[in-house]
């Protein structure tokens, strides 16, 4: 009969009128994020060896890394993520051998101005060099080479 579908629709909406509401009163109430959520980056500075793998892994050249050689170790002085270009693909996190770079569940990365969006994870001066000449300089050089060899400038 004509109109059956119409009545059926009305019935469904009537049911929904008193049904469960799915709205969450954001920002006062938030949903739990899943552990794997790609939120704001977090860099465990102590774990980071400034190897530059993440820089290489990034498809969009988001990560800017500056390091200084302090003794036999590379010392991370600046680690900036240009989040405005970030794809949140997770390749950098995946590439990190030391588990230093991680995602958090924090989603509030929005800023009022575009230039504030940039995420500076580490910005510190290099400490005075503690002479540790027994470390192999070749390893560091290799790391530097890897860092320098950033992906080509895109066409």
């Amino acid at each position: 009969m004509f109109g059956q579908g119409l009545l059926k629709g009305l019935e469904i909406t009537w049911g929904r009128l008193f049904g469960k509401k799915h709205t969450v009163n954001y920002p006062y109430k938030r949903i739990e994020m899943f552990p794997r959520f790609h939120g704001r980056f977090q860099l465990d500075v102590d774990k980071c060896i400034a190897c530059g793998l993440c820089v290489n892994a990034c498809p969009n050249k988001v990560i800017e890394m500056e390091r200084e050689k302090v003794g036999k170790k590379q010392f991370l002085t600046k680690y900036v993520m240009r989040i405005e270009y970030c794809l949140f693909c997770g390749l950098c996190v995946e590439s990190c051998n030391r588990d230093a770079l991680r995602f958090t569940n924090v989603i509030d990365m929005n800023q009022y101005r575009r230039k504030w969006v940039r995420l500076t994870l580490v910005d510190r001066p290099a400490p005075e060099a503690e002479e540790t000449p027994e470390e192999a300089p070749a390893k560091a050089a290799k790391a530097e080479a890897a860092a320098g060899k950033a992906p080509d400038k895109e066409g």
């Binding site: 270009y85 400038k153 895109e154 066409g155």
Partner: protein, 153 residues
């Protein structure tokens, strides 16, 4: 995985008909440019092949030539076939259009013209750009395409 390639005997028949064609080990067919339209007409119209569905059409810019790639499917037999042909003229690449055979080639050819600058002849209204604006200079997917700009470092 089942095999969806063209059976040997059919391939042999095609070979005898088009002597200029080369078949790779994956049964991909590479044709001289002149044989393209007769070959395509044959495999579309001949009920033994009945390649009625042009899945994909694209082009690759190799240093010495352009290579057109066509992926064809036959609904009735279930065959798939990849056909390639080379355009040696890098300055003014031209190739006959396949729109008369498969209307689905229309937009794909326009895309190839737009991004690689291959001119498809034989159809009115072509070539027309599809993505980029009409007065855009150059064809971005060519290897020699240079574009000034991009984001700040």
């Amino acid at each position: 995985m089942a095999d969806y390639r063209l059976p040997e005997e059919l391939m042999e028949a095609l070979k005898s008909k088009f002597p200029g064609m080369e078949v790779s080990e994956r049964q991909d067919v590479t044709l001289p440019l002149d044989d393209l339209v007769p070959f395509m007409t044959e495999i579309k119209e001949n009920p033994d092949y009945a390649m009625d569905f042009l899945t994909n059409l694209t082009c690759v810019d190799y240093p010495d030539y352009f290579e057109m790639v066509y992926n064809l499917v036959s609904f009735s037999h279930g065959y798939t076939l990849m056909v390639k042909t080379r355009i040696e003229d890098k300055e003014n690449p031209e190739i006959p259009s396949l729109i008369p055979l498969w209307s689905g080639a229309d937009w794909q050819e326009r895309e190839v013209y737009d991004l690689l600058g291959i001119v498809f002849t034989g159809c009115p209204g072509h070539p027309t750009r599809i993505f980029l604006e009409e007065n855009f200079k150059g064809h971005p997917l060519r290897k020699d395409f240079q574009w000034e700009g991009g984001r700040e470092p």
